[in-house]
Amino acid sequence: MSGVKYYDLRHVTGQVTHIDIDNGVVESAGTSFFNKAVLRVLNGTGWGVIQIDNFTPCTGKKFDDLIESAQKLAGITEEVVELGDVLHGILPVPPMKEDPRSVSIEEKSSLLAEIEEAARHPLVTNRRANYVERTEQVRFMDSSANEYSYEICRSGFNVLAVASRNGNVQMGYEREHTIHGFDLRHQQESGKKAAEIAVALLDAGAVKGGKMRAVLDPELAGVFAHEAVGHASEGDLIHEGSSVLKGKTGEKIGNEILTIVDDPTLSEFGFDPVDAEGTAVKRTEIIRRGIVNAFLHDRESLAAVGNGIAGHARAMPGEPPLVRMSNTFIENGDATEAEIFAECKNGIFLKGSRGGQVDPGRGIFQFNAEYGYLVENGECTKMIRDVSLSGEILVTLHKITLCGNDRKMSAGYCGKGGQSVPVSDGAPHVLLLDAVVGGSGVD
């Protein structure tokens, strides 16, 4: 292993149990298994990486041969990669109230069926409920003799209701995902709510696009924090030069009431006990009182860029780590919900999220609400559907003028570089001035 500056190995085994119920029919239910590893080696230049399915831990010559193959691969790289100095360490995985693995699949299936059944309504043409439970056993080791292992189980459900009337088709969608254990009990309300929203949307109007005041609910404001700020603060993007936040450390880019944080230590869906390169995780204030404070880093981007905190490397099993968010949120302010609506006066109130996307180099983001209401004289009136917002990172953050005191986190998944990792986003209710709203309504 001569010439090896660094190596690490991350081996993940586990199983996924799923149940899919579609209009009362159990389409599929069962368990699948995976076993994946990724070995990364730094020689004199860049990374040589070997991804191995069905990995058998090995030592001695067999392991040395793997390192040598990765070294050879690294021979085609040109950039000299340096790794920043970091603290190592692992947090305990929060205990589960009820381990899903102790519940039989028959019971899970009948509980899920109750949620799906609760979405029954004369105008609902399709009800679909999914349960997924994923257990990962993670083992990490590196060339500096750091070794960690942990097990984490994430589980949850989605329920979809599709309502239809005279060719008008609308949907309501509810989901709950958690690291805190089995959560299928007493959740029929979610099915009912999905149906109610789908049916109500049949009578909702399309909003006319343009600039207006918008109140964002905690879920949507969380997605805003994720898309508008989180991605652009990822150290690998800053390093590449594809983020408008590059070189902006210490600059005021938003209203001083705005503090945006990524915190992998929080016991939320994006919790990480240790990052994917063995670095201890730490709360990172990306924006503090409107000022660019700290970027999210892995060891490579910490060394290359600085001005931030490492411990944000994450990876899907068998994939090389990337700089990722974990639990991203806007900190509470001191406004009440009533004050926010009063200040909005006339505009729109947007709830829920169908996701979003950002071009961090251009500094432009887009995200979409599940539904909303017109706000007239501080009161929610007519329901509206299919509303998107877009904005420019360096402009929009100045336009958040009120933050509520009711922060709530929502679980989801985030995609980057072909990898999807569990995250949570959250915020209190916020008021956004001059929101650029896209809707298909016309005069």
Binding site: G30, I76, V162, G167, G356, V436
Partner: protein
């Protein structure tokens, strides 16, 4: 097929499974890939992967069970999990897995000349960088990868099919001041990609989009590039052609069979037998021989896509549309090479807004078809020439309704993943300025 090489453990798996269930099917994929990834202009990361995956499906008295693993040595555990999973499934009408038929053994999407060599990946990256050097943009990231895989399908009716696939994938990202450009290429055949062009186009879009002007809100003649069109089609329109969505009440097209749902010039079909196309295959993900399926002919909706499970349940015939997602993936309804065609013409005969890409198409409403997305790399275009760039705006509409008002299709088509699409012209498309 004649080049079936008996894989002993798969034969044993089939035999073992038949002891406890009526029918069994095993799908096994094994592959390798290499890639070279750029950080700015230098290769920073070289990767090789060795992938494998096994998916098992069992059918017993109409109950379908399934499981997967990427540890083929543990096929017995996987088989036990599949059999157990079948016990929880609701029984359905089932008329059997396919019987073997004699199919040509030549692969439609395998290039014997494609070798997974890291030096070749690095060379492809260098050619992209040479292309990008034609414009003064900075390179931020990029990648070239090469892959080969073999796919094996076996079932208890005697199907023993094997196929080989290969792929080369290129992408480059560029930035010029605060303007970004992205381009990519993919093919099964190494000679069919153009790395120089990928680099040149990425840098071109970054440079040409800089210093854009605002556009007032209004309805404009718009041309959507194949890439922008693919985003809207794949997130909204194509899922609505899925037989399962149709019969379970999740498709707006469910009741419209035989009706005109698009401009008469529009043809939409899946051609799984197109030579050299990356989605081409002679048999689908559960062994049904593939054939062309016409979804829309002259604007009229003619067919939906089915796999065996959905076809048996709703008394239809499978269209050979089962596809497998990834390594060890289970079959689901999809397509092989989804093509939009029709009479081609000059769609640049007036001044139009040309939209190269969109941001956020996955947030469109897949049921109603409503979308509002941010546009990117948009330009005013005259006689096909790029003129003034549009800085930032949103585009809103309805993907289904949009197809009734397609004013023309470009002469050229482009492959975007498994879609082969022209640029489309829309006469009155709503754009929301800022």
């Amino acid at each position: 097929m004649r080049w079936w090489v008996a894989v002993e453990w798969i034969e044993e798996l089939i035999r073992e499974g038949q002891k406890s269930v009526d029918e069994i099917e095993a799908f096994y994929v094994e592959g390798t890939s290499v890639s070279a990834d750029l950080k700015q202009k230098k290769v920073n990361l070289a990767t090789t992967s060795m992938d494998c995956g096994l998916g098992i499906r069992t059918i017993h008295k109409g109950r379908i069970g399934s499981s997967s693993t990427n540890d083929p040595h543990k096929w017995r555990d996987c088989l036990a999990a599949a059999v157990a999973s079948g016990k929880f499934a609701t029984p359905q009408t089932w008329h059997g897995l396919p019987e073997p038929v004699l199919l040509s053994s030549s692969s439609l999407s395998f290039d014997p000349a494609l070798v997974c060599d890291p030096e070749i990946a690095r060379d492809l990256v260098r050619q992209m960088l040479e292309g990008a050097a034609e414009h003064p943009a900075d390179i931020t990231a990029g990648s070239a990868s090469l892959s080969v895989s073999s796919v094996t399908l076996a079932n208890s009716h005697g199907i023993r099919y094997e196929d080989h696939q290969s792929g080369v994938s290129l992408s480059l990202e560029a930035i010029h001041r605060q303007s970004t450009g992205y381009e990519f290429d993919y093919s099964s055949y190494i000679g069919d990609v153009d790395p120089h062009n990928v680099g040149e186009r990425a840098a071109f879009y970054a440079c040409k989009s800089a210093d854009g002007k605002d556009i007032p809100t209004g309805d404009y003649p718009v041309v959507l590039s194949p890439l922008a069109y693919a985003e809207l089609l794949s997130n909204v329109f194509i899922p609505a052609l899925n037989g399962r969505s149709v019969h379970s009440g999740r498709s707006r097209l469910a009741t419209l069979l035989g009706e005109s749902i698009a401009d008469p010039l529009i043809q939409m079909y899946d051609d799984p037998l197109l030579p050299r196309a990356s989605g081409s295959t002679r048999w689908d993900g559960e062994g049904t021989p593939t054939r062309r399926i016409d979804f829309i002919r002259d604007g009229v909706l003619e067919n939906f896509a089915y796999d065996l499970k959905t076809a048996y349940r709703y008394d239809k015939k499978t269209t050979g549309s089962a596809v497998r997602g990834g390594f060890g993936g289970l079959p689901a309804i999809g397509h092989h090479n989804f093509i939009v065609d029709g009479q081609r013409g000059n769609i640049f005969d007036e001044r139009v807004v040309y939209i190269h890409n969109v941001v956020g198409a996955h947030t469109a409403n897949p049921m109603s078809g409503e979308f509002s997305v941010e546009i990117s790399n948009a330009f005013w275009m005259e006689d096909g020439g790029f003129e003034e760039p549009v800085r930032s705006a949103m585009m809103s509409g309805n993907v289904f309704d949009m197809h009734k008002n397609i004013a023309g299709l470009s002469k050229e088509s482009r492959t975007i993943g498994s879609l082969i699409l022209p640029s489309i012209k829309l006469n009155k498309q709503r754009i929301i300025g800022k």
